[in-house]
Symmetry: C2
Subunit: 322 residues, 2 copies
């Protein structure tokens, strides 16, 4: 077994060693730039932890880990265009540093690079690896589309929201772990269970993110605190509040959406969250998905000792304040 | 052997039979829309002709043909965003009919669809098929990047231009035919030769397109005649004229770039093309690539009778007026 930090080190080394073509420079420089911005590399790490869980070799799984991380970064480049985001990990987004056309096209070729990485897995597992990768990629695109559509809808239900975050965030965690299982030669049952673990963990993670946006420690939370409140983002918290609020509070909430005094807006909406115990409800929902994840993990027939790293990493992610 | 029109019919049938997911509708509708706009389906047809050439079965090669056609249409969606094009095949482009974000994301998921088609080839040829597909996809992106960069450069050389059209247009023809060879179980030598045939034919085809833009019959040419002249597009013709023109004519040419009287501009530049015999030079260049293509085809060790359809289609493409 390898610790997550050992696996992360191998991933970082492999990322640095990738050689992109040098011509046309403007096509490939954004890829190196994006890949070098860092991030937690949580998806490839969990992919390799899944390999470890099923007693696979790490080295032959590195191409799959690079495929997942490259794909993830490609989606960030295109998402940033669509969201008109100026910054990513504290640095200029690709479309800001270069331009929109370059960001579209570098993203496209980055997806090709992701596919190229994946073809380097052992040919005996190539077909199932591709099927998993493509299904994952498709889900992520569907999730992004739903996320955009929800912005202009005022009738988004909580099941729809959960399905959106499942597609946008969780299938990539599940898909990464399933890929790890496939490369490690796990059974189809085991691959399905680790997918379920990853997917449910991913949903729990996103719900935790929704909670931290409002109730996280501003000193520790990586993003702008209350960014979701400011943007009237339809998170689990907001949708649940809209479900539970009485008529007067709903009117008040709707008027707060246009409150230009942001500090006042944050204070008022947070107060409503508190009065309807939205944090507790969201935490219970998050824990329900965490339970589903652990239930799937429990059903995986490997020695419990091999699961300990995954369990502690999951709990760490859930108890994080950032 | 199948005639090109028989193969085209099989492709059209297969395209109609593709079932895309229905949710989210806005993600998948642009894909059906784009695939239904038609076009000559020249790339998948040539892929299947290559299968035929090497005595392969057509049916198992259909997924590869769909992968190529789907990829091609994906590049058109993204190219149309980058070129700010309002129309494609006489209909609204995807970003005009929906919006830019939808066009970006539907394009992305369309590339996943292309990859999904490809994974359905026989597993025994999956790895080389993927390698060829990815190399092709990468080349097309590089070509589009160079095409965009050349717009703002005034020192583009003819070899650079040829390399750009090779990447943007010709590698996809070559790649499609190589894929056909791989799926048909041809030798690596044969796959390389048919690639060379397709690539050189693709370059010849694009040079012919440059010529037809200026000298084609307006009644027959599918696009706006002299569109390249109006846009000051750095085609082979323009680059060659800039190479050969004397100082006075170069000054005159440069001043024509800003001539707002388009009919006058077209007349003046066409006159210069004629006086420097640019059409004849471009035709000779086109024929040189056609010769290279036929040279590669000649070296393929199959009965000459099996090559006749490819030869006649190639000559037809070169003698076209549209």
């Amino acid at each position: 077994m390898h610790s997550p930090s050992e696996l992360l080190k191998q991933i970082e080394t492999a990322i640095v060693e990738i050689e992109y073509p040098t011509y046309p420079a403007t096509l490939y420089e954004p890829i190196s730039y994006m890949m070098s911005l860092g991030g937690k590399r949580i998806r490839p790490t969990m992919l390799l932890m899944s390999v470890d869980l099923f007693n696979g070799q790490i080295e032959p799984a590195i191409p799959a880990a690079l495929a997942i991380e490259t794909f993830h970064n490609f989606t960030l480049i295109h998402d940033d265009i669509m969201d008109n985001a100026p910054l990513r990990r504290g640095k200029k987004t690709v479309h800001e540093k270069w331009n929109v056309n370059t960001a579209i096209l570098s993203g496209d070729v980055m997806m090709v690079e992701a596919n190229k990485h994946l073809t380097r897995v052992d040919v005996s597992v190539l077909k199932p690896a591709l099927d998993t990768f493509n299904a994952t990629a498709q889900g992520v695109c569907e999730g992004q589309q739903l996320d955009m559509e929800f912005e202009s809808r005022d009738d988004v239900s909580i099941p729809e929201y959960i399905d959106m975050i499942r597609l946008k965030t969780a299938v990539l965690v599940g898909g990464a772990m399933k890929l790890g299982a496939i490369v490690a030669g796990a059974t189809a049952d085991h691959a399905g269970l680790i997918y379920s673990f990853g997917e449910n963990l991913g949903i729990a993670f996103q719900l935790q993110d929704d909670i931290l946006d409002v109730f996280g420690d501003p000193e520790k939370f990586g993003k702008q605190i209350a960014g979701d409140i400011i943007a009237n983002k339809k998170t689990f918290l907001l949708l649940k509040l809209q479900e539970l609020a009485n008529a007067d509070d709903l009117t008040e909430l709707t008027s707060q959406f246009n409150n230009a005094d942001l500090s006042d807006k944050i204070g008022n909406i947070t107060k409503m969250y508190k009065s309807y115990k939205i944090r507790e409800i969201a935490t219970a929902e998050m824990k329900a998905y965490l339970d589903k994840a652990f239930d799937a993990l429990n059903r995986i027939d490997v020695p419990e000792s091999q699961k300990s790293q995954l369990i502690s990493l999951s709990l760490e992610l859930m108890n994080r304040e950032k």
